[in-house]
Amino acid sequence: MSYNFKFRLVCQLVVLAVFFLPGLVSGQIKTDSTSQSYLYFPYPMQAKKWHSSIGFSLTLWPQDISEEAQVRAPAGDYHVIRKIDKGFYLDGQLIFQVVQNHLSIGPRWAHVINNRFSFSLGDDIGWWFGVLKVGDFNTTANGWLNYPNISLGYRVKEQLLVTWKTEAIVNLSYHSSVGGLEVSKSHNTLSGWSTGIYLEQPFYKKKNLTLGLRAIYSNFYWQTWSLFETFDRQLFYPEITVGFIL
């Protein structure tokens, strides 16, 4: 690797310290977080109500697989959470691109550290499927994924919530079909990981907005299934997410 991992780690820790340290020494926020809608912020839900957002994500595919084309794949994004029990809630997300779509769902356990910090632990099961039967393509594919995840929440201001979410990407199974030929693989391998920072804040007429930036490092990213790439090395997919909380 050509970059200096230790230097990068130190820089990250400095930034995180600058960002979060004020919260550790001051406790000026008193309002309960449930006064504001959120999807990513790891905080126990108070009522058994649906919270949802609709938006889009934009993922830049690495040149190793997209080659000359600068592919910025837009996808619709529907995100929903609902309380299950005290401290527990369910998190579901549908990412749709017509040609390929991804559905994930999993429980979260959220815990409040103080009036600024909270965190959650979760484990999502994801299923993706793709169908491309046009022109020179007669292909379909689907697969199961597992995303163990941890989120750290930080209430910057009364209505500005910041979440740092990190998740592992585990490939559970893969199946593809090409003109009648089929390939199936069942495995339980760590394909990669992702980390992202999400802001949630008021946007317009009491509606809230989610803005997220996510870095994905993975051997396999479901959106690229139709390229049938064979690399066994973690490629970098930057992703931006915008959601309008309903």
Binding site: M1, S2, Y3, R8, C11, Q12, V15, L16, V18, F19, P62, Q63, D64, I65, E67, E68, L132, D136, F137, N138, T139, V156, K157, L160, V162, V178, G179, G180, L181, V183, T195, G196, I197, L199, Q201, L211, L213, A215, F228, E229, T230, F231, D232, R233, Q234, F236, P238
Partner: protein
């Protein structure tokens, strides 16, 4: 306030997200014993007798249960260097080694590489007199199961070889229904971190070591009409070193490209003439697919095709050169050529178009599947069917074992070679 946090958010993301620069440099293979004055080239009959399917009796966890051994060569003037390639299915690994005779033993020296990632390392093996070398070095070698045992070490990166690998001969390679093993982009993709840039002279010479019997070349025209090898529409840092030039390659003259542009590994962009000269004089490749990446006149490509087919014929070389027609635009330009229906071509459009221009090869995309009925129909007309660009190991195996295609174009010719030669 919000802007401040957005700025911090972006800064932190920039710090989190570093793109890894992956490389797989060819290891330094200096081995004093191999280069000692007493080490001599291997006789032809020994090389030929070594080819076969070998069981991996030690090292299978790294390279798989069985491998294929095949020889190839690169000629430079009067000097010919022979390379023994070892094709593996696991992680699309391959070895390329040279062989010498030292006393009554055979030494093999080179390196290995896995194409799914960037793992590579030094490889040094030997065949002792009692492990098959004596038989191999005889004037008429008789080789049977377990009669050759190749043992040695492989390393990781530049580290000295310290991991054991033992290969035991099982049977000859498959020599039934012929299959053209065609290497994409003259041998391999730049994104696979090959030792040479894609579409370079070095890559053409290397293709045989990857198991290719033929190559596909991406042909574009410069502003002054010189056919050159280059895949993308534009000059970009994926394929060339940083030089400040941008835009379509057709906007530059050959002289400008030759003096100002270097491919990613430092080579110059070759002309099609240089590429065909290399195929003819330096390799044992016998099929060249000129993939037409432009929609201008095909006259200059056709002239070079005719010239080098004539040269090959004069040299007694078996060489086919076809003009690849990927779309309607290229098909229309092809039909503007005089006597187009007698020009060797590979048409990627429908079988009807293939008949229309009397193409020698029908070349559908692999994502349509085996299409056995259509393939048989094309073959019944006296043509061949090649499929492109097939890289997925499980599908390569299925295309070879369940399909009827005459050729497979792949970024991984070593894997196609493996699945083809292990057939029984």
């Amino acid at each position: 306030m919000i802007l401040r946090y957005c700025f911090i958010l972006c800064l932190s993301m920039a710090l989190f997200s570093c793109r890894k620069e992956l490389e797989a440099p060819v290891p330094d293979t200096d081995w004093p014993l191999f280069d000692s004055p007493g080490a001599n080239p291997m006789p032809k009959q020994s090389r030929e007798a070594m080819e076969g399917i070998y069981k991996v009796t030690d090292g299978a966890s790294v390279f798989g249960e069985q491998v294929v051994l095949k020889w190839s060569y690169v000629a430079e003037g009067l000097d010919t260097t022979y390379y023994l390639s070892v094709f593996c299915s696991k992680d699309i690994a391959y070895f390329t080694v040279e062989g010498k005779v030292l006393g009554d033993s055979i030494l093999l020296n080179g390196y290995w590489r896995k194409l799914t990632n960037t793992q590579t390392g030094i490889a040094r093996f030997s065949i002792g007199a009692n492990n098959g070398a004596k038989q191999l070095l005889s004037p008429l070698p008789e080789i049977g199961k377990d009669s050759i045992v190749i043992s040695g070490m492989f390393g990781n990166g530049q580290d000295s070889p310290s991991n054991k690998l033992v290969l035991t001969y099982q049977r000859p390679v498959y020599k039934g229904t012929p299959l053209e093993i065609l290497a994409h982009r003259s041998g391999g993709r730049t994104s696979d971190h090959m030792p040479y840039s894609e579409n370079s002279i070095g890559m053409i010479k290397y293709a045989s070591q990857l198991g290719a019997t033929g190559i596909e070349l991406d042909v574009r025209l410069t502003r002054d009409g010189v056919p050159i090898l280059y895949h993308d529409n534009t000059l970009n840092l994926r394929l060339i070193q940083k030089n400040g030039l941008v835009g379509a390659i057709e906007d530059y003259s050959y002289a400008q490209l030759n003096s100002l542009v270097s491919l990613i590994d430092g080579e110059k962009i070759p002309t099609l003439r240089q590429a065909l000269e290399t195929v003819l004089n330096n390799t044992n490749l016998h099929f060249v697919w000129l993939d037409t990446k432009h929609d201008d006149s095909l006259t200059s490509m056709r002239n070079l095709q005719a010239e080098y087919l004539q040269k090959a014929k004069a040299m007694g070389r078996s060489l086919e050169i076809v003009i690849g027609l990927p779309g309607e635009d290229q098909l229309a330009k092809f039909k503007e050529l005089p006597n187009y229906d007698s020009i060797p071509s590979a048409c990627e459009l429908s079988p009807e178009d293939v008949v229309d221009i009397n193409a020698q090869v029908w070349a559908p995309r692999w994502t349509l599947g085996l299409q056995n009925d259509l393939v048989k129909q094309v073959q019944a007309e006296g043509r061949r069917a090649f499929v492109w660009t097939l890289d997925v190991p499980d599908y390569i195996s299925q295309f070879i074992n369940e399909g009827y295609f005459n050729g497979i174009l792949s970024n991984y010719p070593s894997l196609v070679a493996y699945y083809y030669y292990v057939k029984e």
